[in-house]
């Protein structure tokens, strides 16, 4: 498998087409947050909306345009975090960042399993210029979660 084929694995091509979570919908959840992120070197952008139910990422929806790596990555992250706890989402994010920094190698520990489909992005780590593409959605997710937490702050504190 060439580096190019390693980067554009079938899983990625499929996600780029399937675009899980694509399409913004109104969310009837206690804490909703939204974030708009732009990759300025290419003009790619995403608007991502997240709904929290307590500590759970109840819903992720997004709209965006960009290269296959960025679109596939948002799709994969949607599948990965929806229905999971914020803590799990954070762990997956950290693992994904580590993978991006690993210059095209698997992490070689149980984080590889945790990443699921997102593990297929391993090849992106060989192309520094593309790492930003793969991270675009994650930046939006983290920012949207922060917004949601701020919006739902009052309840959150009472819960705590």
């Amino acid at each position: 498998m060439s580096s190019l084929e390693q980067m554009y694995q079938q899983v990625i091509m499929d996600h780029a087409r399937a675009r899980h979570g694509a399409g913004l919908v109104d969310l009837d959840l206690p804490a909703v947050g939204e974030s708009h992120q732009v990759n300025t070197t290419c003009g790619d952008e995403v608007t991502l909306r997240v709904g929290l139910d307590g500590d759970t990422v109840a819903s992720v929806h997004w709209e965006g345009q960009g290269c296959s790596i960025s679109q596939a990555s948002i799709s994969a992250l949607t599948e990965l975090v929806e229905g999971h706890s914020l803590e799990e989402a954070d762990e997956v994010y950290e693992a994904f960042r580590a993978l991006m920094g690993n210059r095209g190698e698997d992490l070689g520990d149980d984080r590889d399993d945790m990443l699921g489909d997102a593990g297929a992005f391993v090849g992106v780590g060989k192309y520094p210029a593309r790492i930003k593409c793969a991270l675009l959605g994650w930046m939006a997710l983290r920012d949207a979660v922060a917004q949601a937490q701020a919006a739902g702050g009052a309840e959150g504190e009472n819960d705590g």
Partner: protein, 424 residues
Amino acid sequence: MLPDLRDDFPLLARTVRNGKPLAYLDSGATAQRPHAVLHAMDEFDRLHNGAVARGAHLLAEEATEAFEGARASVARLVNAASPDEIVWTENATAALNLVANGIGNASMGQGGEESARFRIGAGDSIVVTQAEHHANLIPWQQLAARTGATLRWIEIGDDGRHRLEQLATVIDDTTKIVAFTHASNVTGVVSDVAAFVARAREVGAYTVLDACQSVPHLPVDFQALGVDFAAFSGHKMLGPTGVGALWGRKELLDVLPPSVFGGGAIKVVTLEETTWHPAPTRFEAGTQPVTQAVGMGAAAEYLMALGMDDVATHERRIAQIIREGVSQMPGVRLLGPIGDPDADEVLGLATVVVEGVHTHDVGQVLDDLGIAVRVGHHCAQPLHKRFGVTGSTRASAHVYTTEEDAHRFLEGLASVREFFGVPA
């Protein structure tokens, strides 16, 4: 006709991505440098480096001579009336900002009566075009915001050409500055400078030419063009990074207020006030990019030795191959004039949008084949918006580009849609 020049350019000998030979088609972003340029800089650093115009010792003398000699070479390349019409800058962006910020300062009263001719304010207008690189757009946007003047623009037609009929209406008696590119870094279209200059003169506006893409590729004579100021960069004309130049009519440069202040630019300094030198010194505050100026001078000499007519002819031939090739390719859209018989008007580049494949993905496939192109908006977002796209893929040539490079690009591009499984 140019000979094959690849051997002059050490970088072109390297291989990329598992030993593939390099087809460097990103010269529009930054060009490669010939031995002659690298050698001139290295020799300067190893033998003649000293403080320019500031020391009483032999090295200072030699450094000054090399530095001023380079200025004369660059002046000759663009037919400046004298070397004093060439101001060294960090890059073309800095050169354009020098003019815009100088006009801004004049508008605030700096330079007094002498500089009053540059004052603009509410009720005045600055005209740019929809094809401008951000470097020739944002400084004017900011100047307009700062002075209360209005920013207007000449639109671009579907073929990438300026809608010249708008010159008569967009440029009017309120217009003080007309800033436009000599050649577009996206469509490659060469502007009708004469039409802009004629209209600007009718209303008494100053003309500022972004000559970044013309000076490296075409015979350019600023006096004949009749503009007032022009900016270009070393690194696009086979010279080094870290240096660019502003050309301007001496009588204008001598009264344009500076906007960067420091040593060397002033006649007398007290803690209370300061008087400026004439140009170019007034704009050259602080230690100048001396080695880089020497490199840019060597690049000017290299280009003049090749002959700019031959350079233009060579690149036109490459452009024809690429532009004809892509215009026949299914699912590929060429930005700018297509199959134009009058190919003189287009630089040696082709910028395309591949249907169904994002420009990043296009670039990645080409990169894997050893073909280096530029992807993105090429710092020309308004023009991309005009064409209804967010990004594009550009292949751009220079003196060292071969027909083989052009054919490799075409083959590579043809394989992209298949790679991504986009239906034909």
